[in-house]
């Protein structure tokens, strides 16, 4: 790890002021960087991939709103463990709580924050190994194309083929989430526009925040009939192979409307509008119709050499997320 200094920001204003050089600075100069839980950032610093000269610690910020869970909104510093355990959230938007309930490990969830989870960097093993000078680090090759790509994208890849690692982001997509911002010109940004694919913006980054912007809160629309399913190779201390988030509007047992977003399959959270379309009008009791609609999730996939199995897993994840959303036990679970 390199030498760096730490600013213990006591308020969001202080953090924003400390971050201000980032607004003027040229992108290439190493700029101060925000640290929330530090679960991702410190790892990257240890590996020599992130080298901020200054860390601005958000955990010392005193504003209570950053740590509160209100109806329809929670603060940027709320931990994943707190989201997972919040009874009101489990009632109003279970998909959000469920998406992070088994992510990572209990230790990580106790420290990792909501904003940090959205802005964590990709897990691509070439990116995470300092010796690979890949596109995302300013090099000229994507090593995954001809290399080891079993965990890479099956949708929207190219020129970089990462999958977006956040469990929380697709959950917020199906709840029409947005982030509250300070420190820049904007005060809000829909979650769907927080991320960009490698072909749409700089391949060096994954999000669309301007330098100097800080996430202070996260908003969502209630989605009481929503669910989550992650398919994991290993159940402890591992990322999902694929996962799906679903929010349903039901009329009786018929799906009147659905929001479906997949994770770990593309460089951004990956909405599945064709599946949403196919689900409309399907009766939950009609297993065959449900399976047909979920199978649409695989359409248009462009798997790489080693990850075709993910194409097969995705419809299963969607179907199980729907089952999760309508699970009868849901109501009891919400009461702690």
């Amino acid at each position: 790890m390199n030498r760096f200094s730490v600013i213990q920001a006591r308020s969001i204003d202080e953090a924003a002021a400390a971050l201000a050089p980032a607004r003027q600075g040229a992108r290439r100069v190493a700029l101060p960087q925000l640290k929330a839980g530090g679960m991702d950032l410190i790892d990257l610093m240890k590996e020599g991939i992130a080298e901020p000269p200054t860390l601005i610690n958000l955990l010392t910020v005193e504003e209570a709103a950053l740590r509160r869970i209100d109806e329809g909104r929670f603060g940027a510093l709320v931990t994943l463990a707190e989201l997972a355990a919040d009874a009101a959230l489990l009632r109003t938007a279970p998909v959000i709580a469920r998406s992070v309930a088994l992510a990572a490990t209990p230790q990580v969830r106790n420290v990792a924050t909501a904003a940090g989870s959205l802005l964590q960097r990709p897990r691509c093993w070439y990116y995470r190994n300092h010796q690979f000078d890949c596109l995302k680090k300013g090099g000229s090759t994507c090593f995954a194309v001809e290399g080891e790509n079993r965990h890479h994208a099956i949708f929207g890849g190219g020129p970089c083929h990462i999958v977006h690692p956040s469990n929380l982001a697709p959950a917020l997509v199906v709840c029409d989430g947005s982030v509250d911002l300070v420190g820049g010109d904007r005060t809000t940004l829909p979650i769907a526009r927080l991320f960009h694919g490698p072909d749409r913006g700089s391949v060096l980054g994954e999000h669309t925040l301007e330098p100097g912007e800080i996430i202070v809160g996260i908003r969502y629309r209630p989605a009481p009939t929503s669910g989550f399913c992650a398919i994991k190779e290993k159940q402890s201390f591992d990322w999902p192979l694929v996962f799906a988030c679903v929010a349903l509007a039901l009329e009786g047992t018929t799906i009147a409307g659905a929001r479906v977003c997949a994770g770990a399959v593309a460089p951004t959270p990956w909405p599945l509008p064709a599946v949403e379309e196919a689900l409309r009008g399907v009766d939950l009791g009609d297993g065959a119709a449900l399976s047909r609609a979920c199978a649409v999730a695989a359409e248009g996939a462009t798997p790489m050499r080693d990850n075709a199995f993910k194409v097969r897993l995705l419809p299963v994840a969607v179907r199980r997320a729907i089952e999760d959303a309508v699970r009868p036990a849901r109501a009891e679970e919400a009461t702690p």
């Binding site: 030498r3 490990t105 093993w125 070439y126 995470r128 290399g147 079993r150 190779e233 290993k234 199995f309």
Partner: protein
């Protein structure tokens, strides 16, 4: 099925061995120190003013160093030396030089300042499946094929598993000018003392190797490696203390591994499932080493008829293997057990029945374990391979079984017991506790033989200045040192009793020591403190030695074992959940029940991790390992843990302590693979059994012609064959 809470307690199965146990309840003497962080491992040792060493390593499978800025690195404050020995690398992690610095920070800055520019060559990253072919059959194999009702052919493969010990490789040389203490994380205190002599610049009488605790070794910590020899060389040159430990990345790359294998099998099978013979060709990866590859198949645990076996070492651009917990055996057992289940299916025989027929253990111990285990796991519930449960759903269950054995190996050892006049008792053995519980085990042996409580013994181990003991490999430590300890205790006791007899004026033969008291017949004659006070000298020293002879690789008195596994497979996702493993293991006389059970549990865990997750993955284009950490290199975690029931088998043929460290890791992956075959109806022949491979097996099972499943029996739930 038994109540989960109850079977979670290893003690539930203790009725199997109650009569054989020396200490049924002792806990690890250093357990509290370890879990509270008080135990100081070699890596934790810091000495004021010490230097740090780190290797400069090739990042690619084939690398040529085009440029490196040594002056820039040397210019960094705190950098003491930079040495570049070579400008080519043969594998990711290949040591080509090193940096010496006053602090870790200076070391890291120097490594960066070097800014090496490497040109990449074309690496070979593994065994080419195209080369995995059988030779023309010899006489015996040809005859077996001619007589056979079925010809069975299959190919299996196993990945590279790294040792992944929590404490990485390395040592600290604490230099004191004219003498030194070497704090080593090692499996061989005396091996380090011997090897380091060439580098440390001191006579053997001027340095001591200490190995108080070891954070895991699993076979990779016998040699000091470049990290150790360089540290010693630097210490000798500078007369300063040196700290040198591998990073996690280096640990994966260059401190050994369980090598990969491809195993091709062709067998002639009789109508009733008897194996008439055939061919087994093993292609064993060796990385850049010239040898050390292979898989122990056939294991000799099963009668396989006239089998000709051949091993071919395959070199490629990767770090070399080292011994790893039962070297060669888990690889071979995976292929052999799964092969047996496939043969059983081909012949329509129950796989347990087939094993009972083929088992070569003449003592009958393994057959008894098979029967007891079948009862416990409910083998009668085992359905035909790939049977679909009536209630439907994506979960399929399966049962599997595998076996193990380990020779009664041992080596020469010495020990001393010192009884002081103030009543203190010291047990001295230079051998090391690599986490097995050895410290506690020899304490128990000494307490038992001397007649005092375990708590009253101060066990001193892991020093090259104490009586010599073996390196911990081949599961020899306990069987070798324990006899020496018992002899030492008897010697000390004899001396104590002689003194007491003289002072009390009674015949020594009437005296004994029980529970720390001197007894004259049934009567307590003296309490321990009073007895020791009688000593004419400050202490008495009891000495014991064991010549190490009488070991056997095969045959009588070895450590048999059998493991049963129960799995659930989700056929929509390919995810395997191992639910239960019952592990029978003989280990001779059980000195310390808890640590012995812990060895069995640990072996099963390592075997499960091998079965499901572990895989050193090299990038096919560059030869660099893509997962040199403990996140992308996956190891079994708490949520994936099944209920594991260790059963220490008491076996009348075994009278002394036998090896236990290695045998329990051997059969697990094979037993799980058999259970997966049973669950989905087609085999997963390549480890690790990841969801993609399981899904392929599910497809293969579905593609079998209707009414003609792999095992030739109708696919439906219920009933054993």
């Amino acid at each position: 099925m038994a109540d989960a809470d109850q079977i979670n307690q290893p003690t539930a199965n203790r009725s199997f061995n109650d009569a054989m146990v020396v200490d049924a309840n002792a806990s690890r003497l250093d357990g509290v120190a370890k879990v509270t962080g008080r135990a100081r491992y070699a890596r934790d040792v810091t000495v004021p003013g010490m230097l740090y060493v780190q290797g400069i390593r090739s990042p690619w499978g084939v690398g040529k160093l085009a440029a490196i800025d040594v002056p820039a690195a040397k210019a960094i404050p705190g950098v003491v030396d930079v040495v570049v020995e070579r400008d080519t690398g043969e594998y990711d992690g290949d040591w080509i030089g090193h940096v010496v610095a006053e602090s870790r920070l200076a070391l890291r800055r120097a490594m960066r300042a070097l800014a090496p520019r490497w040109e990449r060559g074309e690496p070979k990253v593994g065994i080419d499946p195209g080369q995995v072919v059988l030779d023309a059959p010899d006489e015996g194999a040809s005859a077996a094929y001619r007589r056979a009702a079925h010809i069975f052919e299959a190919e299996y493969s196993t990945p590279v598993q790294t040792h992944s010990a929590l404490e990485t490789h390395g040592l600290v040389v604490e230099h004191r000018g004219e003498s030194a203490i070497v704090h080593a994380s090692t499996q061989g205190t005396f091996a380090v003392a011997e090897e380091i002599a060439r580098f440390i610049g001191l006579p053997r009488s001027r340095y001591e190797v200490r190995c108080e605790y070891v954070g895991g070794g699993f076979g990779a910590k016998f040699q000091i490696g470049r990290e150790g020899s360089t540290a010693a060389t630097v210490a000798a040159a500078t007369k300063r203390s040196v700290h040198s430990f591998c990073t996690r990345r280096e640990e994966h790359l260059d401190t050994g591994n369980r090598p990969s294998s491809h195993i091709k099998v062709k067998l002639g099978v009789a109508r009733d499932g008897a194996i008439l013979g055939g061919q087994i060709a093993v292609f064993g990866g060796t990385g850049v080493a010239r040898g050390g590859g292979g898989a122990s198949i056939p294991s000799r645990r099963y009668a396989l008829g006239e089998v000709s076996a051949k091993t071919t070492n395959v070199r490629f651009n990767a770090g070399a293997p080292r011994a790893m917990r039962a070297p060669g055996h888990p690889q071979g057992a995976f292929a052999e057990e799964l092969m047996l289940d496939e043969v059983a299916a081909l012949a329509g025989v129950d796989p347990l029945e087939l094993r009972l027929r083929l088992d070569t253990d003449e003592s009958g111990a393994r057959r008894a374990m098979y029967r007891a285990g079948a009862e416990m796991i409910g083998w009668s519930r085992r359905h035909a391979n790939g049977a679909v449960p009536e209630e439907g759903g994506p979960i399929r269950t399966g049962l599997g079984v595998g076996s193990t054995s380990w020779g009664a190996l041992r080596g020469p050892a010495q020990a001393e017991i010192v009884v002081h006049r103030d009543g203190a008792v010291e047990l001295r053995s230079g051998a090391q506790d690599i986490g097995t519980g050895f410290r506690t085990v020899i304490g128990i042996a000494a307490a038992d033989a001397l007649g005092v409580p375990l708590e009253s013994i101060d066990v001193r181990i892991g020093r090259s200045t104490l009586p010599e003991g073996p390196a911990s490999g081949g599961s020899v430590t306990t069987p070798s040192v324990t006899p020496a300890v018992i002899a030492a205790a008897q010697d000390a006791k004899r001396q104590l009793l002689e003194v007491a007899a003289q002072r009390l004026g009674v015949a020594a033969a009437r005296l004994t020591i029980v529970g720390g008291n001197l007894r004259d017949g049934e009567r307590v004659a003296l309490a321990w403190a009073d007895l020791c006070r009688l000593l004419p000298t400050e202490s008495v020293v009891g000495s014991g030695r064991f010549d190490g002879r009488g070991g056997t690789l095969f045959g009588e008195g070895h450590s048999h074992g059998v493991q049963f596994a129960e799995v659930e497979v989700d056929i929509e996702t390919g995810v395997i959940g191992v639910r239960r493993v019952i592990a029978f293991q003989a280990c001779g006389r059980i000195l310390c029940r808890k640590t012995a059970e812990s060895q069995v549990i640990g072996g099963v865990i390592q075997g499960l991790s091998y079965a499901l997750f572990e895989n050193r993955l090299l990038d096919r284009k560059t030869g660099a390992m893509v997962n040199p950490n403990l996140e992308a290199y996956k190891i079994l975690g708490s949520v994936d843990m099944p209920v594991i029931e260790p059963i220490l088998w008491s076996d009348a043929t075994q009278t002394g302590a036998r090896g236990l460290g290695e045998p329990p890791v051997i059969p697990t992956a094979g037993a799980v693979a058999c259970a997966v075959l049973n669950a989905v109806g087609a085999p997963v022949r390549h480890l690790p059994m990841t969801p993609d491979k399981v899904l392929a097996a599910v497809d293969a099972a579905a593609a079998q012609p209707a009414g003609q499943p792999a095992d030739g029996r109708p696919r439906r739930e219920g009933g054993a064959a």
